[in-house]
Structure formats: C-alpha cells, structure tokens
Amino acid sequence: MNIESRKKALRHFFAKVVEPMGFKFTPDADLVEFLLEQEVILEGKHGVPFCPCQPLRNERVHDMQIVCPCIPFHRQHFDAIKRCWCGLFVHKDVVDPDTLLQLSAKEVGLE
C-alpha cells in the first residue's frame, strides 16, 4: 500500500462526510493533493489522519477534534469563513478559494 492509494480512499470517504454539511473539496487540486498527502503521513505516524495545519497536544479530547474532516467540531467557525482551517474543504458555492481568508474564531467574533 502506498500514499497514493490511501489518498484515494480518503478522498472517496471524506467527500461523503463533508457533502451533507455543505462542503466540498477545494477546487485547488494541488492543495488537495498536498494536504491529503500530509494527512496520510500523519496517519502513518499517529494512526489517525489529523489535520495537518493544527497542533496536536497529546490530549485525546482535543486531538480527536482535529481529525480530518474536523468540520463538525468547528462548524460555526468554518461556516463563517466558508472553509475549514487548512482549506481542504470549502463551502459548496465557493468557486475561487483564494478569496477566502483564514480567520481565527476570535477574528470572526466567535470567542
């Protein structure tokens, strides 16, 4: 088994998880490839495909909330910025992901 094979499976099953929540993979194909590859590497190390852009704290409750796709745990925040934190997923209506800003929950008034 290799990274490309695992990326195929993640792509297939992630799409089914995020679609009912109003999200899709970002149209930036290079970014999708890169982020999925990082997730497979993290999965190889930790056993779980964590978000590549958020820090692990070695606290199970916290760390389980950044297992990709982590949208359900940050729903209000990601809905406000129309993307997930790392940008792997964007709202279905987003055509140009470069127009979306990576704003923290505090910056959008949620903390």
């Binding site: 695992r6 195929k8 297939h12 056993g47």
Partner: protein, 135 residues
C-alpha cells in the same frame, strides 16, 4: 465453457451495492454489484484473511469487517491498512493488556496486500467469471 468463463451467480441475486460469496473450482470469490457493473475479487482480505463479503461496499470501495482495511474491487488495489483499535480509557486487566500488546506488536508486521481480481461478464442473466484470468 470454452471462453474460460464459468457461471457464478444469477445477476438478479445481487442487489446494487451488494455482494455475495461463491466458491468456484475451490476458489473463494465475492461478486460485487457496483451500480449494475459486476466485479469479482478474492473473498479473503489482503490483510488477515477475513471474509470480505461480511464487510461493506461503498461504490467500488470495499471495507473489511475485521480491521477495516479497504480495497478497490475494480482493480484489487489495497487502499487502506487496518484501523488501530481504541478500547476506551479504562484500564484493562494486566494479562489481557499484555495479550493485546503482543497481538499489536505482531500486527505491525502484517502487510496489507492487494487482492486478486477476476474478469466478469453478464450473459443470459448470469454473472460469469473468468477463473483463469485472475490478476
């Protein structure tokens, strides 16, 4: 049959999204109905030999019931290895803990191999499998 295909199962016996196990010439095979397209693969998981027909089929992606290894039935490609188990935060009895640790150590050395695929065709309402074309 002269073209190398043998009757495996009636096409009507497998609902779309379903799969069934058959045994042909001593080979355990599962036939998958992926939206009206039929694929045949070896029944045994490429990880630890569990019967894959007890797993779940999503499109052409088949997940093993035992450790959740995943395969693409259209190509046989191994997509995902086993999912690590989590037994909760409660302490397990020492002997059981040691046993699980030993099993876990051995499982790290078990590779997930791609599974064998067979050519298929549907004729006269039967799914036929080419046993000799297995890859």
């Amino acid at each position: 049959m002269s073209d190398g295909f043998v009757r495996a199962i009636s096409a009507a016996d497998i609902a779309p999204g379903g799969m069934k196990a058959v045994e042909l010439d001593g080979q355990e095979i599962i036939v998958c109905n992926c939206g009206g397209r039929y694929y045949a693969v070896q029944r045994r998981c490429g990880h630890m030999n569990a019967p894959l027909d007890l797993g779940t089929l999503d499109g052409t992606y088949l997940t093993c019931p035992m450790h959740c290894a995943q395969f693409d039935v259209s190509s046989g490609e191994a997509l995902s290895g086993p999912v690590p188990g989590h037994f909760g935060d409660e302490a397990v009895p020492a002997r059981l803990g040691q046993y699980l640790q030993d099993i876990g150590m051995m499982m790290q050395h078990v590779r997930t191999e791609s599974i064998r695929t067979y050519g298929t065709k549907v004729e006269g309402g039967w799914v036929q499998i080419a046993l000799k074309s297995a890859q």
